[in-house]
Amino acid sequence: MFSTASMSTLHVKESERLHNVGVLQGLVPGKVSELCLMHLSRLLDLDGDKFQALAMKNKAPSRKPFLGSPFRKKYRPVSHVDGVPTESVSHIYRLITFLSKPQIIKEEGLFRKTGNISRQRFLKEWLLSRCEDLSMGCCSPNHFTAHDCANVLKTLLAELPNPLLTERHFEAYRQANEFKARGLPDASRRQLKVVQLLMLLLPRENVVLVELLMSLLYQVCQEPSNKMTATALATMFAPHLLCSRKLDPEEFQKEAAIATEAVTFMIEHAPDLFKVPPELDRDIHSYLDTLKIESDDGQLTPLSTPKGKAESPVHTVVAYACQVKSEDSNANSDTQVALAELYAHMQSMPECSQKKKLLRKFNHNVLTPQSKGKHTRSKTLGSSLKKLKNLSGFSRHKHLLSISSDEGTPWGLIPIGIEEQVTDGATIITCKNTLAARSSSSMRSLITEDDVATSSSVAGDAPTPRGRRQKRQQQIPTSGDCTPPKQDCKETEHQESTPSCSIGSRGKANSKCKLRESPLPCSENEISYLQVDLHQEKLPLYVRQLAVSPVKLRNRICRSPKGALMKKGDWVRSFHFIVSKFCLEELSLPVSVQSVCCRTLVLDVHRAWYCLPQHWKPHCDDGSLNTTCDISLEIPHSRHVLLYALSDTSHDKSVETSFSECASVDTVNDTPLEKSADLFLST
C-alpha cells in the first residue's frame, strides 16, 4: 500500500517536472538550455571549444569574417541545422511503429540480418513516394520482411544530413563514458544525468525520433528470443546515431567504439532517458517561482516557497542568511535602543560646538560599518541597519506586493471617474490624473516583471526573427488629459531597448514609416510595448484595464488547464473562453474595442504557441469567434496578427488598404519573416 502510494507520487513528480520544463520553455525559450548547460558543466569538463560546440545552437553564429581575410573560408560556420527534415521524420516514424509489433520483435537477428536488397530498394522508394500504411504492403507474404524494414530504417538513419544525436554532443558522451573508468562514485547515475541533460538540449524532432527508437531497441533487447543484446544493437546503430558524417576511416573506427559504448548505455536505460534530473528540476522550479506573479485565482504565490524546498528530494543543506532571526541578534536590540536614546538626547541638546563634536564622534564611531580591527561579532548600528534592510525582504518580493496593491481586483476593474463622449464615431475619454498615475505605476511594475523575463531570455534563441516593423495607424482623436507616461519609458532602460514601435499617435501623424531593427523578437517585448501604445492611444478605460494585465492572460493561457502540455482542443477552447469571457460577454464592448482586446490576447496566444509542440498547429475549427481571432490563429506571426487586428479596428477604408499594403511590403522585403512563416506553416 505504502509502496504504491509512493510510486504514484513519484510518477506525479515526474510528469510535473516535465510540465515545468515545458512551461519554462514556453515562457523563456533559452532558459532551459542555459540551465542544462550549467548542469552539464558541473558533470563534465567543458572548457573552451567543447562548450562552444555544445552551445552552438543557442548562440546562432552571426559573426562575419573580415573582408579579405585569408581564412575567410575557414570561419564560415558549418551548417548548424541539426533538426531532422520533416518528411524523414514521418518515414522513420512509420518504420518504427511497424517494427515495434510484438511478432516482429521476436524475429531472430532483427537488425543484424540483411534482407533482400532489391526489395529494400523498392521499399525505400515506396516509402518516399507513397504515404500509405506500411503494414498493408508488408502483410502480403511475398513482400517486405521484418529484416527489410529494419535495414531500411538503418539506411534512413544513416542518410540523415546530421546524425540523430548530433555530432556536437559527441564529446559529452565521450566524457560520460569515462566516468566509470575514472572510478567516480555512482558513475552510472552521473552518466544517466548527462544523457538526460543532453536529451533536453536536442532539437524537438530529434527527441521524438530518439524516444521512439530507443523504446523500440529497448523492447528488442528485452526479448530473449531474438538473441540481440544491447551491445549488439548499439554496434549497429551507434555510427548512424552519433558519429560525424565526414570522418577518415581510422577516426571513424575510434569514434564508433566510443559511440557504441554510449548507445549501449542509452539502450539499457531507455525508460529513464527522458526524465528530468532532480537537480535541474530544482533550479527550474525556483526560477519559475521567481517568474510566477500570480496564480490563476489571483492570489500571490510566495517567492521561493520554503515548503517546496523542504519537499525537494535533494539532500542539500544550504542555508541562506534569511532564516530565522537568532536570539543573538535579538539581544542586540537593547544596544540599539540605548544608542537611539543617546542619539535622541544629543539631538535635543542646545546648538553648540559641543553638540556638533559629539555628533561627529557618534557618526564616526557608530555609523561606520565594520571598521577595521574591531571585534567582528560586535554589532554596530550601521551593520544592524544593513541587516534590517536585508530582512525586509527581497526586492522582488517587494515588487510583487506593489503589484498586488496596484491591482486590487484581479482584472483591475476599479471604477474611476471618467467621462465619455462620442464624436465622429471615435471614443473620447477624459481621465483624472489619479488614474493616469495609477495606470502608469501599474505599467511600470509590469514592465519590470517583463524585464525579469526578457533579461534571461536574451541568451536564448529567439523563436522567430521578427525583422522590421512598419506602423501606421489612424490616430484616434483625443481630448483627454491622460498624458502618456513618457517618463516611464525612460525610467527603465529595458523600455528603451524594447523594440517599442508605437502604433499610436506617432504613426500617421508623422506620416513617416519608422523602421527599426528589433534585436530580440519575443513576446515580452511586444507586451511591454503594447502597454505603451495602449496608453498613448488613449483608448477607453476598460480596454486599458484589460490590457494592464497581459501577464496574467499569458499565465492563464500557458498554465490552464494543463499548461504547456495542452491538447489542441483544450488550447482553442481556453482561448475561446478567455476571449468570450473577458472581452465579449462580460463587458459587451463595441466592435472596435473588441479587436483591440483581441490584439492583446493574440500576442499572448502567440506566446502560448511556442508552448505547443510544432505538430499541434491549432486551427480554429468552429466559427464562433469573430474573424480577427480566426485569421490570427491561422497566421503565426505576431506582426501579421497585429496588422489584421488593427485593420479590423479602423472602419476607415483607406487605413485598411494601407494595412494590406503594409502587409504586402512586409512579405516582399522581409525574407526572414517569410521564412519563419513558411516554417510554421509547413509543420
Partner: protein
Amino acid sequence: MAEYPKVPQYDAIYKVTVIGDSQVGKTTIIRKFVDQGAPDHYPPTIGVDFGLKDIVVENERCRVQIWDTAGQERFRAVTSCYFRGAHGVVLVYDVTQVKTFDNIQFHLAQAQQFTADNQPMIMVGNKSDLGEQRAVPYSLAASYAHDMGMPLIETSAKTLNNVDDVFYHLINEIRKRHKEDRSGEPRGDRKSSIFARSGSRRGWCCS
C-alpha cells in the same frame, strides 16, 4: 573543432581564495571540485596552490581560479597576501572539530581586513559525512553564518556531496553583485567574447 580560431577559452575569470584551519580539507575540496575522481588525501599545503576549473553560468564560460592557502599556523604571514584581487572567499571549517569553527572568526577578520567591503563569502562545513563525530551543530553554524551575512553549506569532500554547490553559489553571488554595481567598473577581468578579434589577427602575419 579546428575550424575555429584560437580565442580565449573563457568569458570571465574569477579568483577565489579558500582559507581555514589546517587539516579541515581545503585542498581536498578544491581538488574534488576540479576533478571529481581526485584522491582523498593530500599532504599539507606549503605556501599556496592553485586550482583551475571552467564552469558555465548563464551561458558564459567562467574560469574559476581557486587559490588554495596553507592552513598551518606558521604560514599565516604569507597567507594574507593571497587576498589581493580575490572576487570571493571560501571559509572552511571541520564539523568534527570545534576549534576549527572557532578559528573561523579569526579567518573572517583577516579576510575582511585584506579584501574590499561587501566581498562575497561563503562558509563551508566540511566532513559532513562523519555524522556521529559531529561536534559543531548545524544550527549553531547556520546562525553564526547568518549573523555574518553569508550562506553556509555543509559539504563532504569524500563523498562529493555539495562540493560543486559551494563554488556555484559563490560564483552566482559574485556575478549578482557585479551586475548590481555594473555602473562602477566590473571587477571580473572580462575577456573578449568567444569570437574575439585577437585570434584572427594572428592569421594576418603567419598565413
